[in-house]
């Protein structure tokens, strides 16, 4: 029964999309400046039905209704309620339904909240957004339908991977999708803007809130995913340049560039076509990322179960999207003049875009090159973390410095009458850097530059905070918070990388390993039977020989029965000053255990700084009333 309800609701949404496109096209021709009431109603119905369909699926999961294939494949009666619900979007079909939900909800909200803007522009946006909705609905109904039913009804589900039963992982997809899919609305708006000749400042104002919303959620989604990987995947890292991670990073670079360029478009009414290109590219990158991740073309730890037929559908959709975007863009593109003085804020925002483009292209090439090489020459190579680190990290240095001084410039034209401040801050950064070297140890030239640049940005941001406390100019606050967060992030990642202690070794029960000033005692192994798994728990005594402090770390090897999987739970002790990280795995046919031990200084500050970056964005959203 749920299957029928679900499919009916989805088909209703499909019909409504057609109706909306039809009535909106008709209303375009009418010169009255107000949009017909029934279009609003159709959109509201559409939103209601799609949300109801999503709730239908959730109910299926809560009730463990195995007549739905999707529930059968991804759930189990013994799963805790919270994870049953999270299982709704933790699979391909369910997450696709969530995509459509966000597409529809944003479509309605954009319509409703933009009544001060041009009617043709709003109608075209609605039309294009609904074309996107149709595309995804066809994909859902024809290939990836979460409401497909199965008969006879199985008694029990196939259960979900235990690794996926984690709170961070439960909220990570919805956060990320608001980012990924949220950019659809300004893709549609960009197409609409071109067709209705509604550009410039007004266009910027119509989309800027949506850009900020998608940016905030994309940033938060990436951070939460990273936190999950650190605590759950058992390797002590937080970023692996894995294809799925990269797929979420590509739109982030584009949205960040767009967010900054919108400021220029609104303030100086220039860079319109570049903003359009960014709007069109962002959602294109989201769909490309989805294609790469769900089609099975890439090899990754994070992939959904892959299926080439999905790949064909998404590729078709992507092709249609890109070709129509390019065609309309070229048809409507006109010549634009640019007036950029070197010493002006708009030029520095252009520099931000320059670097964002560089980082984006690097990650994109790194991801795609192995595919291209394999298809064209049948050679298989790997492009992994060393490539991304070597290319990107050095360029972070000038980027961070520009982040600090860019906002200091005024619009149109400005003098650098603050050169003395730059000198003072630089000296301050160098001094602090020397202090770090004195206290903790030397490092390479590149690391020196990274630390100095990061501290430069941090000090500048702190000076800005001092200024803010004096003049209470709330407009600057979001930027200060985010830029400070970024500086801190680079700084703490640098410290963490430079001064981490990491060892990989084999130990038997009763043996001791000494690493620098730490002693690790492999005291014993305990077996614990839990509700759905058996755990082999190692008891390790960690002694800090200098300070004579002792703590215990208990990593686990978990043997699950349903489905049969093996997971490794790391023992992580998080403190303000550092994290201790220990994983153990059994060496086959031996009494030895392979142990990976890490001491990671200031690990929690990496999360705090990253969250600060997102916080700046959220502060900006709540300050909506004070426009620039």
């Amino acid at each position: 029964m749920l299957s029928n309800i679900g499919i009916s609701l989805v088909v209703s949404v499909l019909i409504l999309s057609f109706l909306i496109i039809y009535t909106a096209s008709l209303d375009l021709k009418i010169s009255r400046q107000v949009i017909k009431k029934n279009i609003y109603n159709l959109s509201l119905f559409q939103t209601t039905f799609i949300v109801l369909s999503f709730f239908t699926l959730i109910i299926g999961f809560i009730n463990s209704d195995f007549s739905l294939i999707n529930v059968y494949e991804n759930s189990h009666t013994s799963k805790p309620l919270f994870y049953k619900i999270a299982g709704t979007w933790g699979n391909h079909e369910g997450s696709l339904l969530l995509w459509v939900n966000i597409l529809v909800i944003f479509s309605y909200l954009f319509l409703v909240f933009n009544h001060t803007h041009d009617k043709k522009f709003r109608l075209y946006t609605l039309i294009f957004q609904n074309i996107l909705i149709l595309g995804f609905l066809f994909f859902l109904l024809l290939n990836s339908n979460p409401f497909n039913s199965i008969y006879p009804i199985p008694l029990e589900g196939l259960g979900l991977n235990p690794i996926l039963q984690d709170p961070a992982l439960a909220i990570h997809p919805p956060l990320l999708y608001v980012g990924f899919v949220g950019c659809s609305i300004y893709f549609s708006a960009a197409m609409a803007s071109l067709l209705s000749d509604y550009g410039g400042k007004s266009f910027a104002q119509s989309i800027k809130t949506w850009v900020k919303i998608s940016w905030c959620f994309q940033t938060l989604g990436i951070i939460v995913g990273s936190i999950w990987a650190y605590y759950e995947l058992g390797w002590g890292g937080f970023w692996f340049w894995d294809p799925v991670e990269n797929a979420s990073l590509l739109p982030w670079f584009a949205i960040t560039a767009l967010m900054h360029s919108l400021i220029v478009l609104e303030k100086r009414n220039t860079l319109y076509y570049w903003v359009i290109i960014l709007c069109l590219s962002t959602f294109t990158l989201s769909v490309t990322g989805t294609f790469l991740v769900r089609s099975g073309i890439l090899n990754s730890v994070h992939t959904f179960a892959s299926d080439p037929s999905r790949g064909i559908y998404i590729l078709l959709f992507l092709s249609l999207m890109i070709f129509s975007a390019l065609t309309i863009f070229f048809l409507k593109q006109k010549k634009e003049t640019y007036n950029f003085n070197l010493k002006s804020r708009e030029t520095f925002i252009l520099a931000n875009n320059w670097f964002m483009a560089f980082f984006l292209v690097t990650v994109l090439i790194g991801m795609l090159y192995p595919i291209f090489l394999d298809v064209l020459t049948n050679k298989k190579i790997s492009v992994g973390p060393p490539f991304f680190n070597i290319v990107i990290i050095p360029l972070v240095i000038p980027f961070v410095i520009l982040m600090a001084i860019g906002p200091k410039f005024g619009w149109i034209k400005s003098q650098i009458f603050f050169f003395s401040t730059i000198v003072l801050v630089t000296i301050g950064a160098i001094v602090i850097n020397l202090l770090i070297i004195y206290l903790f140890g030397e490092y390479s030239l590149l690391s020196n530059l990274i630390f100095i640049a990061a501290i430069f940005l941090i000090l500048y941001s702190l000076l800005d905070i001092k200024k803010f406390i004096k003049n209470k100019n709330k407009n600057e606050l979001p930027r200060i918070i985010s830029h400070l967060g970024f500086g801190l992030l680079v700084f703490f990642i640098g410290i963490n990388h430079q001064f981490s202690l990491e060892e990989d070794f084999n130990l038997k029960v009763g043996e001791i390993k000494k690493i620098n000033n730490y002693k690790i005692n492999f005291e014993e192994i305990k077996i614990k039977e839990s509700k759905n798994y058996k755990a082999i728990i190692g008891n390790f005594k960690l002694t800090n020989l200098e300070k004579n402090l002792v703590q215990y770390l208990n990593p686990e090897i978990r043997v699950y029965s349903n489905p049969e999987t093996l997971t490794y739970e790391a023992a992580i002790k998080t403190k303000i000053t550092s994290d201790f990280y220990l994983t153990m795995s059994n060496v086959s046919r031996s009494d030895y255990y392979n142990i990976k031990f890490q001491k990671k200084p200031f690990m929690i500050w990496i999360w705090i700084s990253a969250l600060m970056i997102a916080l700046g964005g959220f502060v900006r959203l709540t300050l909506k009333k004070n426009e620039d």
């Binding site: 640019y338 292209v361 090159y369 492009v383 490539f387 160098i430």
Partner: protein
């Protein structure tokens, strides 16, 4: 004034950085650069598989024999192909991979340069 400031920075940097010409090979860095062939996207450092354990032994042996990182990678590539190394080598196959990002960087910088220069010329007129 600006030149003196710049020279000061250069002096400070050169006197505080480490330039170890004989780079001490951190074995974990080698593990992180090797791909586990039987896993889905994990390095030898991160993997708990049997294959990873064996590779670790071989790498340890070779380092003890005094081989350099490059020699170890060359050895493993000859046995398993380029796929096993995460850092792509710089050869004519991979030239585009390394060159394109920088090409984009230079191209982008060039465009900004043109825009700014055009503005300056317009002002002069």
């Amino acid at each position: 004034m600006k030149i003196k400031f710049f020279l000061l920075i250069v002096y400070v940097l050169t006197s505080t950085s480490t330039y170890s010409s004989e780079k001490q090979i951190k074995i974990l860095d080698v593990y992180k650069n090797l791909r586990c062939l039987v896993c889905q996207g994990q390095s030898i450092a991160d993997s708990n598989s049997d294959f990873a354990a064996t590779i670790k032994l071989v790498v340890q042996d070779q380092l003890n024999e005094g081989k350099t990182e490059a020699e170890i990678y060359k050895f493993l590539t000859s046995k398993y192909g380029e796929w096993i190394i995460y850092q792509p080598t710089f050869n004519k196959n991979n030239f585009l991979l390394w060159a394109l990002p920088y090409a984009v960087l230079i191209f982008g910088g060039f465009i900004i340069f043109l825009i700014v220069r055009k503005t300056k010329n317009n002002k002069v007129n």
